[in-house]
Amino acid sequence: MATKKNNTIKLKFDSTRNLAPAPESKSAAKIEPQYDLFINGKFEKPQNKKYFATINPATEEKLSMIAEANTADVNKAVVAARTAYDKTWKKMPPAERAKYIYRIARMIQERAREFAIIETLDGGKPIRESRDFDVPTAANHFFYYAGWADKLEYAFPNRRTEPLGVAGQIIPWNFPLLMAAWKIAPALACGNTVVLKPAENTSLTALKLAEIIQEADLPPGVVNIITGAGTTGAAIVNHADINKIAFTGSTEVGKIIQRAIAGTNKKATLELGGKAANIIFDDAPLDQAVEGVINGIFFNQGHVCCAGSRLYVQESVFKEVVRKLKDRLETLIVGDPMDKNTDIGAINSKAQLDIINKYIKIGQQEGAEMYQPSCAIPKKGFYCRPTIFTNVAQSNRIAQEEIFGPVLAIQSFRTDDEVIEKANNTPYGLSAGVWTDKGSKIFNLTTKLRAGVIWANTFNKFDPTSPFGGYKESGYGREGGLHGLNAYVNII
């Protein structure tokens, strides 16, 4: 009879990562050497003729040159959007608007593979995720809001609605196409026109979307997509003829936007940072909870505003959960995002990698215990091993500040009240996760946790029909579902 001590037993997973390469083909997607601004239905050169490079974070190779829009370009886009709003889009019968949105959805589906490849090349996320999540979910958002366009009177019973006008939309680099879909689809369904700016690191899929919008024959000016960095974004926020700002990004920039639009009659929805608590009780299905934690923090390299970056485990199962987590980490494949077997791809940019590494150092200095799996990572490109910290204190910076990378801070807890208090002890409030087999416990926690989305026995589930948004410094306003319409109409 084997009588080895528990702590000497360990499973070996060395062979898991030695799968033969299974790369997706780059040639299935066409990337132009240079992209211009999409204004009034046409691609136009920026007025100052300035372009900047966009690179593949997995290889550090240049993919294309992107136009940089200045204030004059932004103005041109806003004028085009205003004209389109007044002359065509506002007056168009809603059922006709729906047809255009539906057509965009269909065309995204038709070109799903191309979108997935470009999303992965430009952003570093694994092709499995862009293929199975980003692109299909983006198409679904257009399908969903196409359906609402002519049913707004049912969304707001006994009330009349009117569109807001021109929406200025600024989106982040973590889900470039999906965030564009989240923003554009409800705006168009409600009868608004759009000036959208993708993040400067990841403009390519938004520009591909512009090509689709052109082919779909959307009236010129209804959607304008302009590229550039912070100053371009500021020009949109500060433009006098914009009625609504929709922003997804950092809390810091969110605060700047709030200051900028204070005293104007611009409406705003802000979807900002997060530091979500994932809570595992001792009666939870542990293996599935561990899988949920893995998906919660390592999905998209942890570049997810609702990532479950804090883990609270009830103390009686703490050791077991940490052991299971470590075993699971050993089977994650980190590497070339274009390989179909890759679980964790490249960090989006050098700057973000520096931030993550800074926090990993801080965590160690704070006395937390770090664990990383033994996997090799490519020499070129921006990569970070999945990282977990145990022995973390609530006061540690790694438990308080948003890292936006594959770094998990684990703490234990004893009672329900304690974990509720700790989970709420953060300036953020975007999401949370609860893992227990007991329904009553789920309801107790979901009513007391201050977070916009709370998942029970799952994590990072998204659906166009479900609203998404934050409490506290995670922003305000809801995107998705019926609630998402609210942000783009005046209710009369």
Binding site: F13, A284, L286, T331
Partner: protein, 303 residues
Amino acid sequence: MILTKTIPDFSLSPHVDQVGIEERASRFTKRSIKNETKLNGLMLALNMIDLTTLEGKDTEGKVKQLCYKAQHLHDSYPGLPTVAAICVYPSMVKTAKTALGNSGIKVASVATAFPSGQAPRDIKIRDTKYAVQNGADEVDMVISRGKFLEGEYNFVFDEIAAIKEACGEARLKVILETGELVTYDKVRKASDIAMYAGADFIKTSTGKISPAATMPVTLVMLEAIRDFYYKTGKKIAMKPAGGISKSKLALHYLVMLNETLGEGWMNNEWFRFGASSLANDILMQLMKLRTGVYQSPNYFSID
């Protein structure tokens, strides 16, 4: 060999979340297995097969044929491994043992009133002893599902322990018949009972009930094996049976095994496929890898 010291309260077996386990199982199917990984995987899968015939109409002639096939899977492809074992009814054990000689291929025999298990314990023990005395290297028993579903866990536990004792040196595979247990929670509980009662293998199905093996059910059992290993230090083998007839699915199972239990289980001592038609599908895939074209099924002997 009962781990008396560590027998847990089986009513406290961990729960399984249906949505979560099915999602995890489907994730393994997203792995893209290519080139040398595919070749190695197919060879390994072939080597893990318990080539099975469990029909009322089985004859000695049929079993002899199967035993020959087990040793000569496809002679036009040199260097192929053999299957792991031949799985037959107790009455055919002697025939199989003689036919296989010293090929190294094991003889597994179902026993304990297979497939229903509806017989008194002394008959089940005699059934088992008969198989072992005739030379069975492995015994595939069925649990009393009726008793299990009634909540008579001690009965099920004692029965497995008694059969284990009757097996002597033969390795015991305990068939849970997961298709009749229905829920993942029950599969997990039955797995725990079987392992603590002395099973060497836990096995999903008889192949007579639908659904037979599925990936999520197998994953529940692999996770039970993992937890048991960490608690006791004892390795338990796994055998999904029934419903695995395609190479691609077999490779998905191997990915799941590799990522759940690791390398220690990636051989036919610790993992088996209970299947009859899987072997030929693997052979066809191997020939495709070697020649670049698919060949007609007519080129592969059916048994």
